[in-house]
C-alpha cells in the first residue's frame, strides 16, 4: 500500500481532516500489510500532522506492518524541522535531534505511557529558550498538557500510549501542540457507563460540557476535556479534538465549541491546540 501526502498540512482542523482522509486506508488496516507513506512532495508538516503520523507508525510497527515513511525533500525549513523533531532519526536513520541548537523551535517527538509531572518540561524549556514565559502562562500550558495526558492514561486503552509533538512559532508568538493516542476513542469510553449515548458527537458534547466520567478511577469527575476547552478559550487559543467519526473545534470568536461529523474516522483520539505565548 502506497500513500502520498502532497501539499501542505498546516496546524488547523481543515488540513487535519484532509490528512485523515488520505490516511484512511492506513488507519483502517489491521492486517499484516506493509505500507509506505511518501512525503517527498509535502510542502509543510506541522506538529499536529506529525503527531498523527508518528502514532500511525507506532501502531503499524506493533501490527507487524513494517511501515516506511519517506520525509519531505524540501523546503530547507521543513527538512530542518524534520531533523529537530526527531523524524529523520526515527524514519530515515538520519541525524539525531539537538534540542539545544539555537535554530531549534521544536521538541523531539515523544511517546509516553505515564502522566508524570515532567511530561511538559521539554516544551517549557523550549519556550524559555526563545521567549519570556510568565508563571500564569506556563501553568496554563502545563495544565492543558496534563489534562490530556492523564485522560490518555486513564481512559484511552491505547496500545501505543500517547504521542506528543510541539513547535514554537516566533512570528505568531504561539506554541502548537499535538497529542494523539490510538485507543478506543471517547464515544466508546462514554458508552461503557452511558450506553444510551448513540453518537460520537453526543459523547463529545458530554465531555466538553463536563461532569461525565467513565469512573475508570473512583474519583474521576469527568472534567479533563471540559477544563481543557475552558483553559484554551480563556487564553485566546484554539483547539481541535478528533475522535472516531467526529471532531470538535474551538477558535477565538466562537461562542461555543463546534462539534461536527468527520469525513474520515480517526482510530483513537487526537487533541491539537495552540496557545499564544506573548512576553
Amino acid at each position: 500500500m502506497h500513500v502520498s501526502l502532497v501539499g501542505s498540512f498546516d496546524d488547523d482542523a481543515r488540513d487535519l481532516k484532509v490528512l485523515l482522509e488520505l490516511l484512511a486506508e492506513i488507519h483502517g488496516t489491521k492486517s499484516v500489510r506493509k505500507w509506505r507513506l511518501n512525503c517527498c512532495d509535502t510542502k509543510y508538516l506541522g506538529p499536529w500532522a506529525v503527531s498523527v503520523l508518528y502514532a500511525a507508525y507506532l501502531r503499524a510497527q506493533q501490527l507487524g506492518q513494517h511501515p516506511r515513511i519517506r520525509l519531505p525533500e524540501g523546503p530547507p525549513a521543513l527538512k530542518a524541522f524534520c531533523v529537530f523533531a526527531g523524524l529523520s532519526s526515527l524514519f530515515e536513520n538520519g541525524p539525531a535531534p539537538n534540542p539545544e541548537h539555537p535554530d531549534c523551535e521544536t521538541i523531539p517527538i515523544e511517546n509516553f505511557t505515564h502522566a508524570s509531572w515532567d511530561r511538559s518540561n521539554r516544551i517549557i524549556q523550549l519556550l524559555k529558550r526563545h521567549t519570556v514565559l510568565g508563571a500564569e502562562r506556563e501553568d496554563q500550558i502545563r495544565s492543558c498538557i496534563q489534562e490530556i495526558i492523564q485522560n490518555i492514561v486513564d481512559h484511552s486503552n491505547s496500545p501505543v500510549g500517547g504521542v506528543m509533538s510541539a513547535r514554537y512559532f516566533q512570528g505568531s508568538a504561539e506554541i502548537r501542540i499535538g497529542i494523539v493516542d490510538r485507543g478506543i476513542g471517547i464515544a466508546a469510553k462514554v458508552r461503557e457507563t452511558s450506553p444510551e449515548t448513540t453518537s460520537t458527537q453526543g459523547a463529545l458534547q458530554m465531555v466538553i460540557r463536563g461532569g461525565f466520567s467513565s469512573r475508570s478511577r473512583p474519583n474521576n469527575m469527568g472534567l479533563g476535556v471540559s477544563n481543557l476547552f475552558g483553559l484554551i478559550s480563556a487564553a485566546g487559543g484554539r483547539i481541535a479534538l478528533f475522535t472516531g467519526d467526529a471532531f470538535a473545534e474551538s477558535r477565538p470568536g466562537m461562542n461555543a465549541p463546534q462539534i461536527c461529523a468527520a469525513t474520515s474516522a480517526f482510530p483513537g483520539t487526537g487533541i491539537f491546540f495552540s496557545l499564544p505565548v506573548l512576553p
Binding site: A115, S116, W117, A135, D139, Q150, G224, N227
Partner: protein, 102 residues
C-alpha cells in the same frame, strides 16, 4: 476556620517527584491531609510553586479529604491555597463536582 484548632499547612510541592505520576503525589498529599484532619487539625494545602496541576490531582486530594469531612469539604477545617488563576479555576471546578450529589 476555628482559630483554636491546630492549623497545618501542607506544601504540595514537597510531595512531588517530577518523574512519577501526578496522581501518585496527589494520593500522598491526600493521605497526609486525611491523617491530620482525623487528628482534629485544620489543613491548608498550598499548591504554590506547582505548575501543571490537573483536575485529576485535585480529585484525588479532595477524595481523601472527603473520606474524613464528608462531601461538605470546605467547612472551615480544610482549604486550598492556590497561586495562579489556572489552579484556582481547576480546583473550584473539581470542588463543585465533588459537591454535586452522585
Amino acid at each position: 476556620m476555628n482559630p483554636r484548632a491546630n492549623l497545618v499547612r501542607i506544601v504540595a510541592k514537597d510531595f512531588v517527584d517530577d518523574t512519577r505520576p501526578v496522581i501518585e503525589s496527589a494520593a500522598l498529599i491526600a493521605a497526609q491531609a486525611a491523617a491530620l484532619l482525623r487528628q482534629g487539625s485544620q489543613v491548608v494545602i498550598s499548591v504554590h510553586g506547582l505548575r501543571g496541576v490537573s483536575s485529576s490531582f485535585f480529585n484525588v486530594v479532595l477524595a481523601g479529604v472527603a473520606d474524613v469531612l464528608g462531601p461538605d469539604l470546605v467547612n472551615g477545617r480544610f482549604s486550598v491555597d492556590t497561586e495562579t488563576v489556572t489552579q484556582r479555576m481547576i480546583f473550584e471546578r473539581s470542588l463543585d463536582a465533588f459537591r454535586q450529589p452522585r
